[in-house]
């Protein structure tokens, strides 16, 4: 049987497992409420209410998407090991890298559905308030999805060799730092502390720079967004995810399942 089929079967089972988890529905409900609450917030704030719908909507999609990616991502591999369900899968002619990729593809499918549902809520709010849904918003949502794919790869990378608790902490830390890398670099360049500039430069070029994928502000303000910028950001996320998954596979290959 081909690797592709193994990956597909594992991905669909991962998707089914996540869909039957109540946590997911709770997060989706909160995301829906958050997006809908932008209507109330707009009534409190004076002026720019259309932009506020877009800001809150895009931020809610990104934030709840990341919550799902981290919570489900860190448990994705660990749960199979701790509950020993991995035994019956890997004792079949399934390769370990196929298992990891299958889990990853399953979660990407789930995230695609989640982002689609949240985007539908977002569009419904915009239409209800007579606001327009334009291509910039679509590109922003697409890059949110690429960010989620990268964060999931980070979560899987850490969970391939450590506990879910540590994997969760590392992933959240990288997500926060990933959005601050530009500021950290600027801080380093202005600092007089020896070595700090070099350290910040090294972090800037090695850690996942999630700011590259964040075009929410421009999209929300209705600024023009070049396709080349979107393409470069998507390629960056894809390459970084690929490297992380390759690292996770190497670590997973040597692991004993006791």
């Amino acid at each position: 049987m081909s690797s592709l089929n193994h990956i597909w079967v594992l991905a669909m089972n991962t998707y089914r497992e996540a869909v039957r988890d109540k946590l997911l529905y709770n997060l989706l409900l909160f995301a829906g409420l958050m997006i809908a609450s932008s209507i109330l917030l707009a009534q409190i704030q004076l002026g720019h209410d259309e932009r506020l719908y877009r800001d809150v909507g895009l931020s809610a999609i990104a934030f709840f998407g990341v919550l799902i990616a981290i919570f489900v991502g860190i448990n994705l591999v660990h749960r199979e090991i701790s509950s020993k369900t991995i035994y019956t899968m890997l004792s079949k002619p399934v390769q370990r890298w196929e298992f990891l990729v299958g889990k990853y593809v399953g979660l990407l499918t789930l995230l695609a559905v989640e982002v689609a549902i949240m985007s539908a809520c977002f569009i419904a709010v915009l239409f209800a308030k007579g606001s327009e849904f334009y291509s910039g918003l679509l590109w922003s949502i697409l890059l949110i999805y690429f960010e989620l794919a990268l964060v999931t790869a980070v979560a899987i990378f850490f969970s391939s060799f450590t506990t879910p608790y540590l994997a969760g902490m590392f992933t959240v830390a990288l997500w926060i730092i990933g959005h601050l890398l530009g500021d950290l670099r600027a801080f380093g360049s202005r600092s007089d502390i020896p070595g700090l500039k070099a350290l910040m430069e090294a972090l800037y070029w090695t850690l996942p720079n999630l700011d590259r994928l964040d075009i929410k502000a421009d999209a929300s303000a209705g600024n023009p967004i070049e396709l080349a910028r979107i393409g470069a950001a998507a390629l960056y996320a894809w390459l970084y995810s690929f490297v992380l998954m390759a690292g996770a596979m190497l670590l997973f290959q040597r692991r004993d399942f006791r």
Binding site: V9, R16, K84, Y87, L90, S91, P93, Q95, R254
Partner: protein, 310 residues
């Protein structure tokens, strides 16, 4: 042909905060032939599960080699004709019995038509017909074990590896599992199973290997290992005096009063014959005489004693 072969197989773990080295398997040599039921016997922590996990690709050996169907266990194809039931009943419990088998059949690449044909057959074979659309989390422990067994058989494998398949089952459940294992041998399949329930192993195995502290201490066909000679006898008497009871009690390995009957177990046949003569001479009645054969339990106990001495 050897379906399973290991040579000098070793496994060392690193455990705890200080990464202390624990040698779980210390140079195991095994040969399991096609069409046999092979029992892998030993107490908890002897290295049975570790050996099985190496054979099924879940653990990597530290040294030595292991082959399944003459392919090294590092090759995923060595698991193409293998079915494995791990110890415990740890399955995707959000799936129904049918979905669980569908999933594992799909992982093996079975075509849809074959899956539709085989799944109901297997569910019936393991006694789960009627429960196929219930989620596994609603199954009893026995039902989970049956579902696991069905999962191991879904690919119609030539080799079935079962880790403690009877553990935690009631007597009826154990009998059902024994029957399935025997029927697999009738179909020409090889069954390699671990157990610490020695009576079960003695009842159905062709060959056994006894593992203690990571080393094989005995391996061979049951009759060869246990021998044909008797190892003592169990006698039941009636109508014997209290004095005679105490006299025999001192000579016997075990003495039990069961209402009007007195049961004595002797290690040596000569002692049993002497007791028989004494009871007859005193006018007592002999109700039963059961010669005792050496058992796997005796073999295991001897092994443990040797291990402790060395």
């Amino acid at each position: 042909m050897n379906v399973i072969r290991t040579s000098g197989l070793r496994k060392t773990y690193r455990t705890g905060f200080w990464m202390r080295a624990v040698e779980a398997v210390k140079g195991v040599d095994l040969e399991v032939k096609s069409g046999e039921i092979f029992g892998f016997i030993g107490p908890n922590g002897a290295g049975k599960t570790t050996t099985m996990k190496i054979l099924t690709g879940l653990m990597l050996p530290t040294a030595g080699g292991a082959w399944v169907h003459e392919l090294p266990v590092s090759d995923p194809q060595s698991r193409a004709r293998l079915g494995f039931l791990p110890e415990g009943t740890f399955f995707h419990d959000y799936l129904t019995g049918r979905e669980f088998l569908e999933f594992h059949a799909s992982l093996l690449g079975l075509p849809r038509d074959l899956r539709r044909e085989r799944i109901p057959q297997l569910l019936a074979r393991v006694g789960l017909a009627g429960a196929e659309d219930r989620q596994i989390r609603r199954y009893s422990k026995g039902m989970r074990q049956r579902a696991g067994l069905a999962q191991a058989l879904i690919g119609n494998p030539d080799l079935v590896i079962l880790d403690e398949p009877m553990s935690g089952l009631d007597p009826l459940g154990r009998k059902d599992v024994r029957d399935v294992i025997l029927s697999l041998r009738d179909e020409g399949k090889t069954v390699f199973f671990s157990s610490h329930i020695l009576q079960d192993a003695e009842m159905i195995c062709d060959q056994v290997a006894i593992i203690l502290s990571g080393r094989i201490v005995a391996q061979g066909y049951i009759d060869e290992l246990l021998g044909q000679e008797h190892a003592g006898a169990e006698l039941t008497f009636e109508s014997i005096s209290e004095a005679l009871y105490h006299e025999l009690e001192r000579q016997a390995k075990r003495a039990v009063v069961q209402g009007p009957r007195f049961l004595f177990e002797f290690d040596a046949e000569a002692d049993a014959e002497k007791a028989l003569d004494r009871v007859r001479a005193s006018g007592g009645r002999v109700r039963s005489l059961v010669p005792r054969r050496r058992s796997l339990e005796d073999l295991l106990v001897e092994g443990v004693k040797q291990e402790t001495r060395s």
